[in-house]
Structures are given as C-alpha cells and as structure tokens.
C-alpha cells in the first residue's frame, strides 16, 4: 500500500543512504501493495526505527535491523523505502 502521497518525500533519503551502524526512522514504502505488506509484516512499518547492519559480499543484498531482527533485502527494494530523518 502506498502510504501517504506527499511528493516532497520522493526527494528524501532512502535506506540506501544509511551508513553501516546508522539508525533512522522509516517514512514511506513506495512499493506495490503486495511487497509493502510483506515488508511491514517483517517490521518495516512507517514510524519505526531501522538501522543498516551490513551488506552481503559484493554489496547486495543488504541486511537491516528492524524491531530486533535482521532482515535482508536487495538494494533495488531498499531504494524505494524512504526515511523520515536521520537520528
């Protein structure tokens, strides 16, 4: 589900901009409903905090820590997950 339609958000930072160990708050998942639903169930809910742990060898996929668990996703997916602000 396309959460909030604020066009300003398009220019915001995404998960790809996080440095290893850096933490931020999730803002919006600009992804098809099906995928956004899966991500939210795994913990990627707008408003919750997420940190970048590390990437697999070669830089992709990337591992993010969200709500106490490590979840791996491809950079392609991460680039559509927008951040609220850095912490």
């Amino acid at each position: 589900m396309q959460i909030s339609g604020n066009s300003r958000l398009a220019h915001r930072a995404t998960l790809l901009d996080l440095a290893p160990g850096e933490e931020a708050t999730l803002a919006e998942l600009s992804l098809p409903e099906e995928i956004a639903h899966r991500l939210m169930i795994l913990g990627f809910v707008p408003g919750s905090s997420v940190s970048y742990t590390r990437s697999a060898p070669g830089g992709d996929p990337r591992v993010y820590r969200v709500d106490g668990a490590d979840v791996a996703l491809r950079g392609e997916t991460a680039s559509h997950i927008h951040l609220e602000r850095r912490m």
Partner: protein, 638 residues
C-alpha cells in the same frame, strides 16, 4: 529439507477415553524460526525435520499425541506464517486448516501458538489473527534459555491476562517448561482445564489487514510485560565473518569443498564395511541354501540388486548430516545471501533459493516448497529447474562411475582429491543447467516482474544432537523403504526377465533373455552415447528412480559372473569406455529419471502440460549433452 515423497500422514485412532466427544485435532501454529518443529518432535516423538530457515515446512505434518490421561489426539504441524492472510500457498494451507476449510482435516479443537520469546513484539503480530479465531489457545513462548542468557525478562501472568489465554515460557530444544503444555492438552482432551479459561477475549484485537495497527497492538501487549533481550553478540560476530566481503565467499567455497571431500573419503570405510557385510551374507546364503532358482533369485537378484544400493546409505546419511548442521545452525540463510547476486543475474528471485537448496536432497519436497513463492510464473520456473539440482538419488550413480573411472589423486593436498573435484563438477553442472534454463524461461514464456528478495536471518544456534539424530533416522528410513519397495521390485522383476524365456527348461544367456532383448532393442538409440545394451536396461529401470540403475547393474553382473564377482566397479570398467562413462554421468545430471518428481509436478502445476514439457526437455538435453561428452572425451583420449 523434508522427506522424499512426504505426504500428510494423519494417523487417526479412536480415543480410548470414550466419554470425550470423539477424536480431537490440535494445531501447532507459529511464525518461521519460532521452534515449531522442535516442539512438534518433543510432543509427538514422530520424526520430522527441523529447519532453522523460513518457509521450509510447507506440507503440514501430523503426529499422534498422548495426554497423560491416556487420551490421544492428532497434532498438526502447520507451515510457518507471518500472517493469516492467504497470500502464498503455504499461508493458504495454514489459513484453511485453522478455519476448518481444508478437505480431509477436521477443524482444530485447540491451538498451540508458538512464538519466539526473544522476538516477542514482532512475533505477537501473528497472535492477533490466531486469537481472533476464538479457539482454545495456549501461547508457548519458546527459547526461554536464549532470552535468559541475553538478559531479557518476561511476565507470563501479566501477558496471559492481556491476551486472555494461558501463556507459558518454555524451551522446546532443552525440553524445559513443557509441563503446562501437557496440562493444557489434558484440559482440551476432556479433563477439566487448569485455572483460567483457554478461550481468548475477542474484543480489541486489530484486523490483520491493518499491519501498522497490528504492530501497535503487539507493542502495547508486550510493553511492560517483556524486556527485550540484548542483540545476540555471537550472531553479530559470526555475521561479520561469514558475510565479510573476502572471508565470506572463501568460507562458502571451503564449506562446499569440505562437505564433498568428507562425503567421499569419510564415508568410504563405512561403505566398505556395509559392502563386506552384504557380500558375506550373500556367500552365506549361497553356501547354506540348496541349489535352486530361488537361491539364485535371492543371491543374484535381491542381494546383488538391493545390496548394491544399500551400500550407499552411509554416504547419503553423511550428506544429510552436513545439510542438517548447515540448516539448523543458521548458516544456510547466510549462504542464501551470498548466492543471491548470482540468482538475480539469472532472473531468479531470492525465494527460489530455498526450494532449490532443498532439491539437493530430493526434488519432491523442493517442488512442494515452491508454494512459498507468491508469483505464479516464478513458481513454475522454479518447479521446472528444481530437478536439475543434484538430488541424493544421483549420488550412488555418480560415486560408482567416478570410483570406476577416475583415479584418486590429491589436488589441494588432503583437502581436495580428484574424485571429490569430479563430484563438485557434476553438482556445478546441474546447477548451471538450472540457471541457464531459468534464464531462458524468464526471458521468454515465464517473464515476470518478480517479487523481491526478503529474508529474515535467524540467529545462529548450535544444532542439537537430538534434532540431527531424528533427521538421520528419518532419512535412513526413507532410503531403506525405497530399497525395500521400488528397488526390490525392480530387482526381482529384472531377474525374472533375465531368466526368460526358458530354453529346454534352462534359462537363456542374459543377452538372449527378455531383459537382454529389450536392452538390445534400445541399443541403437544409445550407442552414439557410448552405452551398450546392459546400460540400456539400467536406463529403462532407472526411469522409476535414478539409483535403480546401480541395483540393475548389480543384478546383471551378478547373473553374468560365474564365480564370485569382482564387484560392480571392476565389471563396469570392462563395460564402458571413458567416453561412455562421462556420457553416463552427464546423462544422469540432466535426465528426469524419477517418477515421483513427474507425479508431484503434475499435482503442483495442475495438469500434464508442464511435466510433459519438462520431461521431454530434460531427456532431450541429457541425450544431446551425453552424445557431445562421449564424442569429446573419446576424441581427446585419442
């Protein structure tokens, strides 16, 4: 990786407790990695695999449960779920069973909901839809030991009050804290329940469609009653090594090499032992029984045929021991991560990796595991390439031919020899065929946008001896059952066909027998591959299952040789050229010689179209590549 040809085995028995209302069914539900299968094994004693990997338990498994009052019930182990919305095939299974909409399975009378206590706030999200079913429920918070060690705490009484159902803290792996589970079962099996109603309070449960609301509810429920444990330091440290840009891939390669070298050299003494035992048994039978056709059927047909396959049991068990360790420890999820880039390049999504990995054991459960893939086209593509992965039934064929034709020489000192390298090469060949086929399919008939790779990485855990032991026991049973059914039937059938038609009351030369003439009929077709009529008979019988060819050759050579055989290996060396041997390996790498796989593809794709396409494609590819291999090797060796 579940049993080959596993099917739901619902053993229904009448309750000895006649007063209670018939037979009870209890469902075991929970998210992936919560320890469901470990608990299932604890409660039922039924052997079933444990996997520290999301989405592996796809078929539901059932076992019998005995309460302490003597009542019995069926316990159903359902696929791991993150939600109750039927979005993928395995979620649909869980959804349908819990709602009583699954044909053949009664609506559960009670639910055991198992959640990971170290991950409570996220795992509680599953609790909302399960509780809203309104069935008597016991919430089992697993991994109590892990929670304690990492400094987390949990107030079960408080949580129980908030959820309205009994809550227990337990460790299924260690077997601690399970007493209340039995009490709960006593209660639902007709004995007055312990304090407190097991029926959930249905008000203020959020709707599953609203994920943020569900998560908010989960946070609210766990707040104050649960103190999150510190992140596992060990998991972090191990990830830093296993996912290191340089060390990660190196360790990955090292793991592969060690596994293959070990299943080759490590299994040899055990296999020699089994071979010796079977050989002695055969001699004992031959000298003890009076001379008759029955004795010959027993020694040449049954003992040579079935025994030739049973010899490989130690090797197959060793393979499963390694797969078990890698899976239960959590390393396999990291391996999936390392392999994902390669998968992506061939148009496959990450979720295909799990079924493809389990296809190394057997294509049948692998094809059933594709139900976790939501996208239909991706699912069919994965089903079509899964039989290319080197299943354990190919192992006896590969081992036999490699041992007969490739001299053992060290390549990397003691770490890697030529035979293990040849074996790795064959595994790589199958994998390559799978990837190239996937690319061809994904860029043509099965093009799709694909769903992205999403994988929750489980914490590292020590594999338990109990879980590994159950796995190996299970495997050994599957293997011996096959040896006692398919392989035995083929061996007897073949022996009879090799002794007919009788010529003046005497059996013919095997060449002129019924079996021999069938072999010689197909010989012109397979001669270009370097195979003679004996291999031809083996190719036909191995249509039932790949390893049958080993038993078949054992029977043929057993009949042929006058005195004691010099063994299959020596006999094979006389019968195949090096070119034919390589061609045979290539043929078995590609051909779809497995009736069970054809049957499961038909079932899972809902028709004959895909299995026919797949069988023709794989056999055609096997033929062409074996032909080329025979030509190239023969020309090369001059």
């Amino acid at each position: 990786m579940s049993d080959c040809h596993s099917s739901p085995s619902t053993s229904v028995a009448g309750s000895p407790n006649g007063a209670s209302s018939g037979h009870k069914t209890i469902a075991l539900v929970g998210p992936p990695n919560a320890g469901k299968t470990t608990l299932f094994n604890r409660l039922t004693g039924l052997r079933q695999k444990v996997a520290n990997y999301p989405g592996v338990t796809v078929e539901h498994h059932a076992g019998k449960l005995h309460s302490r009052t003597g009542a019995t019930a069926d316990l159903i182990d359902l696929p791991g779920i993150y939600s109750l919305e039927p979005r993928s095939e395995d979620e649909r299974v869980t959804h349908d069973v819990l709602r009583g909409e699954m044909a053949g399975i009664p609506r559960p009378d009670a639910i055991l909901l198992i959640l990971d206590a170290t991950n409570l706030s996220r795992h509680l999200v599953v609790a909302a839809p399960v509780l809203s079913l309104g069935l008597p429920t016991l919430v089992i918070l697993n991994m109590a030991d892990d929670l304690r060690e990492r400094g987390g705490t949990l107030e079960t009484a408080e949580l129980s009050q908030r959820l309205g159902v009994p809550v227990v803290l337990a460790s299924a792996a260690k077997g601690e804290g399970l007493e209340p589970v039995f009490e709960f079962l006593d209660g639902t099996l007709g004995v007055p329940p312990p304090a407190g109603s097991p029926f959930p309070i249905l008000n203020n449960l959020p709707s599953m469609n609203d994920v943020p609301a569900c998560r908010a509810w989960a946070t609210r429920v766990s707040q104050g009653a649960w103190k999150a444990p510190l992140p596992s330091v060990w998991s972090r440290r191990l990830d830093a090594v296993f996912l290191h840009p340089l060390a990660g891939p190196l360790i990955f390669a090292l793991v592969v090499v060690i596994v293959f070298q070990a299943i080759f050299t490590g299994a040899t003494p055990l296999m020699d032992g089994v071979e010796g035992l079977i050989g002695n048994f055969g001699k004992w039978v031959a000298t003890t029984l009076p001379e008759s056709s029955w004795r010959d059927l027993l020694t040449e047909g049954v003992i040579a045929g079935v025994g030739g396959v049973v010899v490989f049991l130690p090797q197959i068990l060793l393979l499963f021991l390694f797969i078990g360790i890698l899976e239960d420890s959590g390393y396999l999820a990291r391996a999936a991560l390392i392999a994902d880039r390669t998968m992506a390049r061939f148009g496959l999504q990450g979720k295909s990796f799990i079924p493809l990995l389990s296809a190394y054991a057997c294509a049948v459960p692998a094809i059933m595991a594709t139900r976790t893939i939501e996208n239909k086209r991706d699912r069919i593509a994965t089903i079509l390439i899964a039989p290319f992965m080197t299943c354990s039934a190919r192992l006896p064929v590969y081992t036999l031919v490699i041992a007969a034709f490739i001299p053992e020489r060290p390549l990397l000192g003691h770490l890697l020899g030529t035979r293990a390298a040849a074996m790795i090469g064959l595994y790589a060949l199958g994998f390559l065929a799978a990837l190239l086929t996937a690319r061809a399919l994904k860029s043509s008939v099965l093009r799709s946008d694909g769903t992205p790779f999403l994988l929750e990485l489980p914490s590292y855990r020590w594999p338990t001896v109990r879980s590994l032991g159950l796995r190996l026991y299970d495997r050994a049973m599957v293997f011996l059952k096959r040896a006692g059914t398919i392989i035995l039937a083929c061996a007897i059938g073949l022996w009879i066909m090799a002794h007919l038609p009788l010529n003046h009351g005497k059996p013919p030369e095997i060449r002129d027998s019924l079996a021999g003439s069938i072999g010689r009929t197909v010989e012109p077709v397979i001669a270009p591959l370097g195979f003679n009529w004996k291999i031809g008979i083996g190719l036909i019988t191995s249509l039932a299952a790949r390893e049958v060819i080993v038993g078949t050759l054992g029977t043929i050579y057993g009949i042929e040789s006058e005195e004691d055989t010099k063994g299959l290996t020596a006999a094979l060396q006389k019968d195949l050229t090096p070119g034919g041997a390589v061609a045979l390996l290539v043929f078995f790498a590609f051909a779809m010689q497995c009736m069970s796989t054809v049957a499961v593809v038909k079932r899972e794709t809902g028709g004959w179209k895909w299995p026919v396409v797949q069988f023709s494609y794989m056999t055609g590819l096997a033929y062409v590549c074996a032909f080329a291999a025979n030509r190239i090797v023969t020309a090369w060796l001059g």
